[in-house]
Symmetry: C2
């Protein structure tokens, strides 16, 4: 039986009800066996479990030819450019801890084999409770750009050791609580390619290929798909993925509104004081006149401070929106 | 049933034949199960397996009260100062990768509870083959000083991160091939204590306790055991644990022997040349006389070089033996 990645997903979730199953890991030695309560182990064995499941269900596949690179399974053994399936798993109570691929191998691979961009990522979010009972909390089927993101200093989230670029790492695509993530995953293949190209340029080890990387990729992609991709410049899109910028802008706008409100109130107050001053001057009440004049001076200083806040917030907004 | 650590060892090895058993780790989810082929997992589960085994055999124990510190099992639940058992496991195809204890907790613990020095370490050396079959290659029952050693810059093998002392780490006690280890494990409790005391002094975080550490330990040890321990100074014992020094000394002695032999041969040769020179001078054979004189000059230079080697080797020996 041959299935697409989507059909594999549907069968797992809808027919086999994987989200309702309870699993466990057991260690046997002699006549003693114990339940293994090591959460990180599950992340490393779901791919083998899926292989066992494909076998048991009689679903055809050819296994991976290079364990370093996607995919884990060719769901169409006769055409290894279509229906490619990569399996990932992570502890759902933590963030995704898996690697996508080695950056240099990946940026070369997608020029040589643009169909690699179409790999389906079948991702399991698992849980292990204190008794060692394993459950699958979530299953996703995603494209690579739907699970990757930028980082602060690089256009793609990279594992960097001693200043050397290693693996492409995932973002968080399921965040209910966006306040906890600083960068959103990419919105499109084009934006993902833009980020990869910028990273090829930025990485000293690939910098010399950057001049022709985009042209080579676009030519290869068109040859394979017939499609002329239009890749945006990274500088034009990078800010929309930075929730920190978005949040900073929101904060600056809120600061501006607050400071403006404050400024208006102080101005009203000063006007009111002037009226009172007028009344007391008419009465020739020297003591009160002096006190009100002091109050007016104080409020004028407050107005200056509020004006400064307004200018500062406006400058921040101009900077962030510019 | 109550057993000593030695009886536990004997039952495991002789009665239950643990060295002949074949184990495996399996993951179950739904109607699919797979063999888990992750070697490092075994190291983390042998302690739980032993607990299962103690339960199954009806061997009494009280479990660990602090998982950070030895022991894992109190084999006499009525007296938690005797018959303490700590379980360790490591991949026999690699070196021991487990921790002994946090250094600071340990140096304090053995003052407060000197009986901790008497903990029995039950150590499993396991193997997992490519099919995931787990076998136990070796089981040892050891005292702490029989599985610890010095290192280059510290009297005890320590895990040091960012210049901060963390865990005490094991040595290799089973080395058939001593050429691969630079330091041997300690020969006695006394030498181990000497090393701990020196490390207390050397570690900036414990340095201020070093002045009274030994006195406090000896007092506490005597109070508990009635024994006056005699602790050697670290400077007096450290070299015997350094196989590198031992090997350097052997090399220097061998260099000395070789150079001396060479020097003697050159001197004989020079004597021979002088005899030949005498013969040719008698014959008035000017050509040959000149040639032999050149040869003698050459051999004198060689003799000087050999003499230099002798002096160098002797200096090295004096330095290493001094």
């Amino acid at each position: 039986m041959r299935l697409t990645a989507q059909e594999v997903y549907d069968k797992l979730v809808n027919e086999d009800g994987i989200l309702q199953l309870e699993g466990q890991i057991k260690f046997y030695l002699g006549d003693v066996n114990i339940i293994v309560k090591q959460r990180d182990v599950v992340g490393n064995i779901m791919q083998e479990w899926l292989q066992g499941w494909l076998d048991k269900r009689g679903i055809e596949y050819a296994p991976s030819e290079n364990t370093q690179m996607p995919p884990d399974f060719f769901l169409n053994p006769d055409d290894k450019t279509k229906n490619l399936l990569e399996v990932k798993a992570f502890n759902r109570n933590r963030g995704p801890g898996f690697d996508i691929a080695d950056f240099r191998m990946y940026e070369e691979e997608i020029i040589n084999k643009p169909y690699m961009l179409n790999v389906d990522y079948l991702i399991f979010g698992y849980d292990m409770n204190d008794d060692g009972v394993v459950t699958i909390k979530d299953v996703w089927l995603k494209k690579v750009w739907e699970i990757t993101r930028r980082m602060e200093d690089w256009p793609i989230n990279l594992q960097i050791k001693d200043n050397v670029v290693h693996k492409i790492r995932p973002g968080i695509w399921y965040a209910e609580d966006t306040a906890r993530t600083d960068y959103t995953v990419f919105e499109s293949l084009e934006d993902f390619i833009s980020a990869i190209e910028e990273a090829v340029f930025q990485n000293p080890k690939t910098h010399n290929n950057a001049g022709t990387w985009k042209a080579a990729f676009l030519r290869s992609y068109k040859q394979e798909t017939g499609i002329d991709l239009s890749i945006p410049r990274w500088s034009e899109i990078k800010d929309k993925y930075d929730l920190k910028s978005v949040r900073k802008l929101e904060k600056a706008k809120s600061d501006l509104a607050k400071a403006t409100d404050q400024y208006e109130k102080i101005k009203e107050r000063i006007q009111l004081y002037h009226q009172k001053l007028h009344v007391e001057q008419e009465k020739n009440n020297v003591g009160k006149v002096g006190k009100i004049q002091d109050d007016i001076e104080k409020q004028k200083k407050n107005a200056e401070k509020a004006k400064e806040k307004i200018n500062k917030a406006q400058a921040k907004i101009d900077e962030l929106e510019g």
